[in-house]
């Protein structure tokens, strides 16, 4: 009886006393095991000659054969190169836009215009790529699309611009649509960083005779420097990762060599053509290189004295 009144310290007792917490964890932990960790074991498929009937464990172990095979496939360097190029173009074109937009929004004094434009600027972020892809297809269509139709009518061009049907125009359209979709949403983090800048710094700059541009250059930009650096490094770390929806939906057979990226390549090889082992090998290659890049990015961020992601 006296034991019960004394606080107990053993692990078992602690678990016993807090059993309800563990009951709560049952479902989510089961979820993580079944839908996240079990597929992680499945990466072993990459090292086998996978037989769907026998399963992974009974399939023949072939070491790195699948990887060697994939590296020699002509589609692989194309998909890898496109992945890196499209991500790079997206970074160059897309990264500065939200910063500029956030600074402009911050300088705007009319709250009514600010609120209204923010509502419109955030909107594209909420749309699926199917919807955006459908709109893009329509707007940039030859002859009937509003862009080509207007340019033709005004006599600025003599024939349709092949926005979606030729390599480089497609790449540029793809990139700009990405900027369009994410520029407004991207301002949020910068705007909250700008709000965090000490107002006295602006006052002091003003007293020192700094004009608006000088204030932006010497106070606002240094104030959001760490946000910019962290987001830039994280973005660079994500270079190997590319979403599936956007290139898959915006792509078409005319630009096959320009729109095929790692994610669509894995889908085609694995799910469409049922080459599970090779497709898993591509996916694993991508995950591992991606993980190394994110890890490096994180390391660099911390080295620069910023908070990393871990």
């Amino acid at each position: 009886m006296t034991d019960l009144r004394r606080p107990r310290r053993g692990t078992l007792n602690s678990i016993w006393q807090n059993w309800r917490l563990y009951v709560m964890l049952l479902l989510p932990v089961a979820f993580y095991i079944i839908f996240c960790y079990k597929p992680m074991l499945g990466v072993g498929i990459a090292f086998t000659k996978y037989n769907p009937v026998k399963g992974m464990w009974a399939s023949k172990w072939v070491g790195l054969d699948n990887f060697k095979f994939v590296m020699k496939m002509p589609d692989f360097p194309v998909a890898l190169g496109n992945t890196l190029l499209l991500n790079f173009m997206g970074l160059i074109a897309g990264f500065p836009v939200p910063i500029i937009l956030a600074i402009l929004l911050n300088e705007l004094r009319s709250t009514r215009v600010k609120k209204l434009s923010q509502t419109l600027l955030y909107l594209p972020h909420f749309l699926s790529w199917v919807i955006i892809g459908g709109m893009v297809l329509q707007i940039f269509a030859p002859t009937t699309g509003v862009v080509n139709a207007t340019l033709l009518k005004w006599g600025w061009i003599d024939e349709n611009i092949p926005f979606l049907t030729e390599g480089w125009p497609w790449r540029i359209t793809y990139t700009l649509v990405g900027v369009w979709q994410s520029m407004g949403w991207g301002t949020i983090l910068y705007l909250s960083a700008i709000t965090g800048i000490n107002m006295e710094l602006f006052e002091a700059a003003k007293i020192d005779g700094a004009n608006k541009l000088q204030q932006i250059w010497h106070v606002t930009l240094p104030g959001i420097r760490s946000t910019i650096v962290v987001l830039l490094i994280l973005n660079v770390g994500q270079m190997m990762n590319i979403s599936f929806d956007r290139p898959y939906i915006m792509g078409n057979t005319r630009v096959q060599n320009y729109c095929d990226v790692l994610s669509t390549f894995v889908y085609r090889a694995g799910i469409t053509n049922a080459k599970f082992d090779r497709a898993t090998a591509i996916g694993l290659f991508q995950s591992v290189v991606g993980l190394i890049m994110v890890g490096t990015a994180n390391f660099v961020t911390k080295r620069l004295g910023e908070d990393g992601i871990w």
């Binding site: 602690s14 006393q17 917490l21 563990y22 709560m24 479902l27 989510p28 993580y32 996240c36 079990k38 597929p39 992680m40 074991l41 499945g42 990466v43 937009l101 402009l104 705007l108 004094r109 009319s110 215009v113 209204l116 434009s117 509502t119 600027l121 955030y122 909107l123 909420f126 749309l127 699926s128 790529w129 199917v130 459908g134 709109m135 893009v136 297809l137 329509q138 269509a141 030859p142 002859t143 009937t144 509003v146 139709a149 092949p162 407004g184 949020i188 599936f244 929806d245 939906i249 078409n252 005319r254 994610s263 894995v266 694995g270 599970f276 497709a279 694993l284 995950s287 993980l291 992601i309």
Partner: protein, 303 residues
């Protein structure tokens, strides 16, 4: 505070809102906003225009030869209405399950008395940086017998670690004294969660509900991978098939194969379907926008 603010205008001249630079700035920002809006206006205009006007390339931002044929076609298309209600059902079920899982994971992880807290935390975080990849995940769904099953669209994504961390950081910010008081009154963890934590976190729960719901409404990839049965296809996949069909005609046109007439049939219907699939988002968007913004800023403060 009020006295300080009242004193201010005497020292510093109150800044006028509409100076010349401010007007230029406003014009630039409004132009950017219009770039976000105009594509919609064009798609709406096309969906309400006649075939011949679209073909001539006359439709800009206002319907030409106004007609609601396209919308009538959608509402008379049984499979489209079926897809709409089916997608609503999937979205609601998914969101409910996802919220339950998220809450059940987030609450225990904020409790220091949970032995193995670090382990569970790591278990969740690791999945943000590494996954089995497309094919092992696909094969897992296949082994579970979920291919061509509506549950394959609901269960596999039913817990987002990102959202869980947002909720966890919110729970962690609630004062511990609340819990202590409830424990003294004899409340157990289930009661504390249901009667204290959840009622106090309604705003963040609303945010997460919307994150999940919008994400599911817009999701396309899972349906493309797991569903081949036409009656089980959600709206986004149906819309995708429609778009792909008309794009194939466009491409053929470029190659000089098909005539332009073939596209016009789908142009307005396609636009109407795009609007149809966007409408639920457009309707709730203005009301929920600020919740999303707050969710992003919380999410940036890492767990």
């Amino acid at each position: 505070m009020t006295t300080v603010q009242a004193a201010k205008p005497m020292n510093i001249k109150k800044e006028k809102i509409w100076t010349v630079p401010q007007i230029i700035l406003a014009i630039i920002i409004i132009a950017c906003s219009l770039i976000c809006l105009l594509p919609f206006v064009n798609v709406i205009a096309v969906s309400l225009s006649s075939k011949s006007a679209i073909l001539r390339g006359d439709v800009g931002f206002w319907p030409v030869e106004f007609t609601t044929m396209a919308y009538q076609a959608i509402f008379n298309d049984g499979s489209m209405m079926h897809a709409l209600w089916y997608t609503v059902g999937i979205t609601v079920t998914y969101t409910a399950i996802a919220m339950v899982l998220t809450i059940l994971m987030a609450y225990p992880l904020t409790k220091k008395r949970l032995k193995g807290r670090k382990f569970f935390n790591l278990m969740a975080l690791f999945t943000m940086y590494f996954s089995g990849g497309t094919i092992p995940i696909y094969l897992n769904i296949k082994e579970l017998g979920l291919l061509n099953n509506a549950w394959s669209l609901i269960i596999p994504g039913a817990l987002s670690t990102y959202n869980m961390i947002i909720l966890k950081s919110f729970f962690a910010a609630l004062p511990e004294s609340l819990e202590e008081a409830a424990t003294i009154d004899g409340a157990n963890d289930f009661q504390i969660l249901l009667q204290i934590y959840l009622p106090l976190s309604l705003a963040s729960l609303a945010t997460l509900t919307l994150f999940y719901a919008v994400g599911k409404w817009n999701s396309f990839q899972d349906a493309l991978y797991y569903i081949t049965d036409r009656s089980l296809q959600p709206l986004q996949l149906k819309l995708y098939n429609l778009i792909k069909g008309s794009q194939a005609v466009d491409v053929a046109m470029m190659e000089g194969g098909a005539s332009a007439v073939a596209t016009s049939v789908s142009e307005s219907i396609e636009s109407a379907t795009i609007i149809f699939a966007t409408l639920p988002i457009l309707v709730v968007y203005p009301f929920v926008q600020r919740y999303f913004v707050s969710g992003v800023t919380i999410g940036a403060v890492k767990g």
